[in-house]
Symmetry: C2
Subunit: 515 residues, 2 copies
């Protein structure tokens, strides 16, 4: 749901901001001799190694042909690796890691390359290890709903696979057609089902991980309960590929709901967004599967720059909007619960107006209002985006604060005083305290960047929020960790990093522990 | 639900098995000089220090008066600590830890002392640090349902506290009136709501932890989403007090359900238990809150040795029984779903018979059949118990296998051939693959013990099960970890242990990483 078209992306900002990380001279250069070592441990070097280097039994390509591996999908982060390895098995991957370890070669693990913070692409010439050729479902137990699969399986394919048995994946996100389950786990992806099915820390049952020195941690159990020692797999969930490469995932999948309903309400204030959330939890408790909000600014932009399928469903505009989704096993029951909620909200005047989808097509129309928000922003101008979390009651304050902040700085465009900042709006997973704040600018400009960072991070720190709710730190926010974690925490993270990766070869320059 | 009366406990076995762990000579003896150092950092040494030593401003007691801290509630594990410290704040606790660290004094953290594996009591003369005086609710956010509290808060009290706002704790267990939330988190407690609300790895949002050297990790955030670096708190969930003492807990609480229903079915086989589970998940999906089973052996014992409130609800006996609980926000809807399930199961002949509770009192009557199982076993003789998990389809096989195994060993009591083993039965949280296997013996006898261990652990290893599903390793199973975790995993656990506790002072002799 977060997909933004490449054309809209802030390439200039990226170049200015990230090109300055110096290459670590401890890392060896990739040479044909190294690739020959790789080739020696791979069953099919011709299909498993792509390189711009020549001189061995691999596939030699032009440097430009490696762009899909060197650059993130947004074109924001760009490395210059000369080699991509796609092992076909955990054992092959382990041997490649061992060779890199022995030769001081830096590595970046790569899944579907759908990340938003530059965590999955090389910064300099790191060897790209792609999981794309490890995409086998290993087993599915239809009694317990436990799926075991390779890390390179695409999320949407897995959802279809377990769907045959009446189950579904416990996470869903816009990039599902491309992202790998291994990448989802490595970045602790949140997404749209988080409110209902919770964190991957709860639903991942086991992991198979190759450590930087080539050791394989076999922790791919399928047990829901296992209290035998420290739960090591938890460390790899959200580690962003810096302490090991996840090669296998065991995950608990919930029953696929038989009925889905969606309602959208226009509400008078952010306070009403919260009251509505309370009432929704009361009426819909166990069937609530999403509680999203968009502000008036965003709704207006969505209507001004409509995507396909978007239309205005209200007779008049409201200050705020919320979208509620329910998922259950009995449509009649769910309809009744949602209807009860709707009546209470309208009767008590908590919401101004409400629309309840009557069929599948209307479900899509209502979701389009929320899902098309990123694109509508991008159509309006250049966009600065921040993915943050905080206590729900403070969420919208930040949007208002930033608007005022740009106004004071003389940057906000107003009648009679033109400014670079055209709009400041917010939307997001309010049920999880997760806000996506968007700043629309006439152009990317240092004056805006300087007015924004670190100011916005300081504000988040002061309300004990997170500077990265669900996207991770990657390269983009590697230096911002201090706004959400105290120095002692960061110090222990660095020690954990050293414990697993003493040479610092795995995904260098990223997160905090790696530098 | 696992409470067993002290009188029924296998004291002789315990003495034979655990008394042989030698004291680590690296640890310093506790002296009055040390206690005086403690006293110097405590606001109220008189109420915070209990000791059998004399010579300072603390409360001196007879050695016997420390028994409640030195022994577990079952009387199975018994240490001989001379000193119990009950700090009143995180800062006080941190200073005590620092003093112990500087003086090489070993420590055992203690919550409600309700554990089942000897993890919360001293083995020798470790200083007991009790969290009992840290029992303050720090905050509760009624919008998000986030509770922040001291680790020494009693689970039932917390449930009552959040209950005032329409929420409930995401875990429930028999010891709730005594156990501390800090202990629950430190042991990754499972319990009766696990099937619905999942693992503490998912619901714990933040922890405040004092490390062995007295450093305080401030990781007590209230955010549902926070992807900034490694999720260190996960390491402490289930670490059994071996790498830090949890002093504060932030936890997400779900809405308290407005309706609860219970049904019990008599079914012809364990295969039918599984089929019924599938059908139940289909019909009751989002309202299912417990799926428990007891076998015919257990049901018979429950009727032969009835606890208060137990009665036979079936006209005839069945090979297996399942108990289903639903919790939802609308009683009429839940009744309808459960009725639909009942009809399908009976019409298709999947179950033999079924009873649906008609009121609150019948809910208790049906739960009593399952909850009184441990006591009924204990009334029948001496009981060996194993808390294990494995793939659901293999679960009952183990009970049958052990019965046959004792038969072959000439230990099973049969007509015409008396034997020490009177009965082998099983019950448990089948929805989580968690079996409690019970072996009733005429007396505790080495011949039974030798026939059981390591045989049962080997069987569990071979089906990739866990030798401790929810009780932890503690002292009891410290040496059994190898049956569920490979050597490399154990090696990394030991490294993690050394990283946080280089002197090995915290909860020594326990789990595997500690030795």
């Amino acid at each position: 749901m977060l997909l933004i078209r490449r054309a809209f992306l802030p390439a200039r900002l990226a170049v200015r901001t990230y090109a300055t990380v110096p290459r670590d001279p401890r890392f060896a250069q990739v040479t044909p001799a190294l690739l020959n070592q790789f080739a020696g441990v791979l069953s099919s070097p011709k299909s498993s190694i792509l390189s711009s280097l020549t001189g061995g039994p691999w596939t030699t390509v032009e440097a430009d042909d490696l762009a899909t591996f060197n650059e993130d999908w947004m074109g924001k982060y760009k490395g210059k690796s000369t080699c991509v390895v796609r092992p076909k098995s955990t054992e092959e991957l382990a041997q490649i890691m061992r060779i890199c370890y022995d030769n001081d070669v830096a590595i970046v693990p790569q899944g579907g390359n759908t990340g938003l913070v530059g965590g999955g692409v090389p910064v300099h010439d790191e060897v790209v290890i792609s999981l794309a050729s490890m995409n086998r479902v290993r087993s599915f137990d239809a009694t317990s709903g436990t799926l075991v699969c390779d890390a390179g399986c695409i999320l949407e394919n897995l959802d279809a696979h377990v769907g045959q048995h009446g189950y579904m994946m416990p996470l869903d996100l816009g990039a599902k057609g491309t992202c790998h389950i291994g990448g989802n786990v490595a970045t602790n992806a949140g997404g749209l089902r988080f409110l209902r099915y919770g964190s991957l820390h709860g639903s991942v049952l086991g992991l198979e991980v190759v450590l930087p020195n080539g050791e394989i941690l076999h922790n791919l159990g399928t047990l829901r309960k296992d209290n035998t020692g420290f739960d090591l797999k938890q460390l790899f969930i959200g580690s962003e590929g810096t302490i090991g490469i996840i090669t296998g995932v065991s995950i608990a999948t919930p029953r696929r709901p038989l009925a889905t309903n969606v309602a959208v309400f226009g509400v008078p204030s952010f306070e009403a967004v919260q009251t509505t959330f309370q009432r929704t939890k009361k009426h819909c408790a166990e069937i609530l599967s999403a509680y999203e909000f968009i502000d008036g600014e965003t709704y207006g932009l969505v209507q001004t720059n409509p995507s396909r399928g978007v239309r205005d469903v209200f007779a008049e505009r409201h200050p705020m909007y919320v979208l509620i989704e329910t998922s259950g096993s009995c449509k009649a029951h769910d309809d009744e619960k949602l209807q009860g909620l709707l009546e209470e909200l309208l009767e008590e005047g908590i919401v101004n107006d409400g629309v309840l989808a009557q069929d599948e097509s209307q479900v899509h129309t209502l979701w389009a209002l929320r899902e098309s928000a990123p694109e509508s922003y991008a159509r309006q101008g250049k966009v600065y985006k921040y993915d943050i979390s905080m206590p729900i009651e403070r969420m919208y304050e930040l949007v208002e604060h930033m608007r005022e902040h740009y106004d004071k700085a003389g940057l906000l465009d107003k009648p009679g005083r033109p400014g670079l900042v055209k709009a400041v709006g917010g939307y997001g997973h309010v049920g999880d305290g997760n806000l996506h704040i968007n700043i629309v600018a006439e152009r990317y400009d240092p004056s805006i960047e300087e007015a924004t960072v670190p100011h916005i991070y300081e504000w988040i720190r002061d309300v004990r929020g997170s500077v990265s709710a669900e996207h991770g730190l990657g390269l983009a926010k590697a230096n911002a960790i201090g706004y959400s974690k105290e120095p002692l925490m960061v110090e222990y993270m660095q020690r954990i990093k050293s414990l697993f990766d003493p040479k610092g070869l795995l995904n260098p320059y990223k997160v905090s522990g790696s530098v």
